[in-house]
């Protein structure tokens, strides 16, 4: 049976094929040349893919804005914000007198007993001044590593809230 089918297949392959008329190619190409050239259609990006791209970009942008808003560039913004918050915010945060909240206020024990190197008691105001005068690490690195010229140091201090004329 299988041999018979193979014989039929072989005979069909050998005997049933035909040759196209010679003018077919010329006629086809004549019509093809009269046609406008095909324009390849580029696959369009789907709506879902476009939406996902926009959503991812929006998330990245939002995270960037949120992160930048949390960065402390100068060091004085938090106290300024506390100062401008006024008594209402201070009330809400449970702070007496406004300004810094209670959980951010210096410990009372630090004000109670601070002694200098010579054993003499140091006044509380001097402690606050000493704390605020501690240079920030970046500034300390700049001061320590590069011996800035006096005018440059003065200019650097002018834009720094802890040094120069804007010192708090």
């Amino acid at each position: 049976m299988s041999q018979n089918h193979d014989d039929i297949a072989a005979r069909l392959r050998d005997e049933a094929s035909a040759t196209a008329p010679e003018r077919l190619r010329a006629d086809v190409m004549l019509r093809v040349r009269a046609e406008p050239r095909p324009q390849r259609i580029r696959p369009r990006r789907s709506f879902g893919r476009s939406f996902a791209t926009v959503a991812v970009a929006a998330c990245i942008l939002g995270a960037l804005v949120f992160g930048l808003s949390r960065v402390d560039f100068g060091g004085g913004s938090s106290s300024g914000a506390g100062a401008t918050a006024g008594p209402e915010r201070s009330q809400a945060l449970g702070v007496a007198g406004g300004g810094t909240p209670s959980y951010l206020a210096p410990s009372t024990s630090a004000k109670r007993a601070v002694y200098g190197a010579d054993g003499q008691a140091v006044r509380p105001g001097a402690v606050d001044k000493a704390l605020t005068a501690v240079p920030r690490p970046l500034k300390a690195a700049i001061y320590g590593r590069y011996q800035l010229a006096a005018p440059l140091r003065k200019a650097f201090g002018a834009i720094d809230p802890h040094h120069g004329p804007n010192r708090r």
Binding site: N4, H5, D7, I8, A9, R11, L12, R13, D14, E15, A16, S17, A18, T19, A20, P21, L24, R25, D27, V28, M29, R31, V32, R33, E35, R37, P38, Q39, R40, I41, P43
Partner: protein, 195 residues
């Protein structure tokens, strides 16, 4: 790498090397070139496939004039549709499918208008003439759905999967129809021989 074909300068005749490369390029490369508007690449595809397409259309329609029209219309349709061809199937399968649809349209029109079919085309092979005519008569006597599968697989040389795509049939249906078509052909030829 045959994917890269050098384009000649506009206004100049194509150099012989270009034609050599076109003739050696694969079907897919030629189809991509044709999709970009290269008529020489499309002409090479026509040369490669015109006999197989014509055989397919001729054995389905059983008419030389209809087969000629089917192949011509099919190739022009292929040229028009090359821009939308996504190359996720073989180019040959796509061409076969276009021509088979044209041939089916002819059969459908013929069924509506009951046109007589009086042409039994001869072939150009060197087997005994009587046996060849017997085979062609037996093939023509098959129902179109069996004849199409036998022609696609055994005459044109498509694989089962390729025939399934070209004929828009499940692969299992192609296999069973091919088996039955061969069985009926064998039966017809045996009957003729005994008679």
């Amino acid at each position: 790498m045959q994917d890269v074909l050098t384009l000649p300068l506009p206004g100049l005749a194509r150099p012989p090397a270009y034609h050599d490369r076109v003739q050696r390029a694969s079907d897919e490369v030629l189809a991509r070139r044709a999709a970009d508007g290269d008529e020489s690449a499309f002409e090479e595809l026509v040369v490669r496939y015109q006999d197989r397409l014509y055989t397919l259309a001729l054995r389905i329609t059983l008419s030389e004039a209809d087969a000629y029209d089917c192949v011509q219309e099919g190739l022009v349709s292929a040229w028009r549709g090359l821009g939308s061809f996504r190359f996720n199937a073989r180019f040959s399968t796509w061409m076969y499918r276009i021509v088979v649809r044209k041939a089916y349209d002819v059969l459908e029109r013929r069924g509506r208008t009951a046109e007589p079919v009086d042409e039994v085309p001869a072939t150009s092979v060197d087997s005994p003439v009587e046996a060849r005519l017997d085979l062609l008569e037996a093939l023509s006597a098959l129902e179109p759905e069996f004849r199409v599968v036998a022609v696609a697989c055994d005459v044109v040389g498509m694989s089962m999967d390729e025939a399934a795509i070209a004929l828009d049939l499940p692969a299992g249906t192609v296999k069973s129809r091919l088996h039955r078509a061969r069985a009926r052909l064998a039966e017809s030829l045996r009957t003729e021989t005994e008679a």
